[in-house]
């Protein structure tokens, strides 16, 4: 059961990194919302689960956080990608594309040459 959670946490972390790359610095709420949006609401996640993922990413140095004053005198914690984060994202994207390409070849209908 914990492996399944780990895989999911990893995927969520990746999506968070990608969101930050695309949108620039963003707070947890924004990231979670955006992830759901991009998946065209095919993914329905509990927003709260993003926070442990973000924390882990921050602990490992892939993202950095800072408090910013938002409107109505509130402060929100914004996350941004670090250089290590960008690198990791690029690596994972590459891995993903390679995997998908290989699999596509397997799953494609047989071709007569």
């Amino acid at each position: 059961m914990s492996e399944k959670t780990d895989v999911w946490q990893g995927t969520l972390a990746l999506m968070a990194l990608k969101t930050l790359e695309a949108m620039g610095p963003l707070h947890g709420y924004g990231i979670a919302r955006r992830i759901e949006q991009i998946s065209e609401n095919k993914l329905s996640i509990n927003y709260g689960t993003i926070y442990p993922s973000l924390l882990k990413l921050e602990q490992e140095g892939y993202i950095a956080s800072e408090w910013r004053a938002s409107d109505n005198n509130r402060r929100a914690k914004y996350y941004k990608l670090t250089r290590a984060g960008r690198k990791r994202l690029a690596e994972e994207t590459q891995k993903w594309e390679t995997t998908t390409a290989i699999l596509a070849r397997f799953l494609a209908p047989p071709q007569e040459s």
């Binding site: 059961m1 707070h27 709420y29 924390l55 602990q59 140095g61 929100a76 914690k77």
Partner: protein, 458 residues
């Protein structure tokens, strides 16, 4: 990538020193999250209550999130172990007599190197949030190897190695009805059975762990509703409208603690049902070992079927009673044995004899057989007996002060991801709900009152 992981661990180590601040910061972060979400909802046209409700639901259980976050911070195992070590030491110094017992027990536990099941904790903790648990008895029967019971569909049955007899807890509905009708020694008699339910709420379906109970279940246990009302004897009647009680956890998870949940109609296994109340957070929901039911229904011909109510050969529910003041449980046995014999298969009990066990003892016995079954290892009988003693006495203490080594593992609950209950931190009186993950083999067996510490190292 490894270096990233190492960096992660270092950050967590240093975070131990900033725990309070991190906790506050995260609480603030969550507040902001909700505020922003609510604003968006308001802008989308929702009413303020709806906006807040939807935001809470979408967030997920706040307690759970905070717990997950907490576990990701710091090094939970290390921190709590250190805390408890210091606390334990202070307590021991104040009670020298107790120190001797505890030391002996510890060495017995560690020396024997047994991996005992955390069922102990679960059960001990679970018997706390009901009124006077020491007055509760669980009905059971014993039967020889040639006995005939009937169709057994629930409860537990095991062979007692000492006597070779089978011992079981499930009864038929007619038997229960007789117990309830005839007993003078018990102030309340009630039955329960676990069941899996298909629940559909606002178009979202899920399978939940549930249970069926009879009218006196909640009043017999002494559980008060934290919202709405609990199931009562009136709900047992044939003409009664179908109702359901939900657990606090379920209320938080599916409704975001919205009071409008009371009165809401949900579909249970295809039939409509009205939610009438919520149990308090400290009451995890049910009484079967290892179960944490989210939804509780009354037993009516509609919910269990007419045949189950009249079939004496179908043994599927467990029965509990509350002793009247001054009554011994042996009196219960004497009083109801004949009724049991008459309803049981063939009118001669099928060779079964009625028994009752004080919930504490019964539970200890189930624990032992469960442990034996799961780990097949020799366990320390002396330890088990001492534990039983402690539990028995702990239940009588009005305020439970818990001294224990709270290894992070001790809060885990076997059986996969379920909500478990952490023994309270020192000074706290009520167990706190937490999210649990995998089964762990460490156990801390604990009892309040007489300050008894058993630690079983893996």
């Amino acid at each position: 990538m490894r270096i990233r992981k190492i960096r992660g661990w270092f950050v967590r180590l240093f975070d131990i020193f900033h725990r309070a601040r991190r906790e506050r910061e995260f609480a603030e972060e969550l507040e902001n999250h909700l505020a922003m979400h609510i604003e968006d909802n308001l802008r989308a046209g929702m009413s303020p209550e709806e906006a807040r409700r939807q935001a809470l639901i979408k967030l997920g259980g706040v307690t759970q999130i905070k717990e997950l976050h907490r576990e990701q911070r710091g090094l939970p195992m290390l921190e709590t172990f250190w805390q408890d070590l210091r606390f334990g030491w202070r307590t021991l110094r104040k009670n020298p007599g107790f120190t001797l017992v505890a030391a002996l027990t510890l060495s017995l536990g560690i020396g024997a190197n047994t991996a005992l099941f955390s069922l102990a904790d679960a059960v001990l903790l679970k018997t706390l949030p009901v009124e006077n648990p020491e007055d509760l008895v669980l009905f059971q029967w014993t039967m020889g190897p040639n006995g005939v019971a009937g169709l057994i569909e629930g409860g537990t049955v095991e062979k007692d190695p000492a006597t070779g007899l089978n011992r079981g807890t499930p009864f038929s509905y007619p038997a229960f009805a007789q117990f309830r009708a005839q007993s003078q020694t018990l102030s309340a008699v009630f039955a329960f059975a676990g069941v899996s339910l298909n629940v559909n709420l606002d178009g979202q379906a899920e399978i939940v762990s549930g249970q069926l109970v009879t009218g006196d279940f909640y009043s017999g246990l002494g559980v008060q509703a934290v919202a709405g009302r609990m199931i009562t004897a009136d709900d047992d009647q044939l003409a009664a409208a179908p109702v359901a009680v939900i657990s606090y956890r379920f209320w938080e998870r599916r409704f975001g603690l919205d009071p409008a949940a009371i009165g809401k109609t949900i579909q249970v296994n295809g039939s409509p049902c009205a939610i009438i109340g919520v149990t308090p957070p400290a009451f995890y929901g049910g009484l079967e070992l290892g179960a944490a039911p989210d939804l509780t229904l009354p037993m009516t011909p509609l919910t269990i079927g007419q045949s189950k109510m009249t079939d004496a050969a179908n043994w599927w529910l467990q029965v509990m009673g509350r002793l009247k003041p001054g009554v011994q449980e042996t009196a219960v046995r004497a009083e109801l044995e004949r009724a049991f014999q008459q309803t049981a298969v063939g009118g001669d009990g099928g060779g079964a004899r009625l028994g009752t066990g004080l919930v504490g003892e019964r539970v200890a016995a189930e624990m032992e057989s469960e442990e034996r079954r799961r780990f097949g290892r020799r366990f320390v009988t002396e330890l088990a007996r001492l534990r039983l003693y402690a539990h028995h006495h702990a239940a009588r203490e009005p305020a439970v002060r818990v001294d224990a080594r709270l290894a992070g593992n001790a809060r885990r609950f076997a059986g996969g991801a379920q909500t478990g209950w952490a023994a309270p931190r020192r000074g706290a009186l009520a167990p706190e709900p937490i999210a649990c993950h995998r089964a762990d083999r460490d156990i801390v067996s604990l009892a309040g009152g007489n300050r008894f510490v058993c630690a079983h190292a893996p």
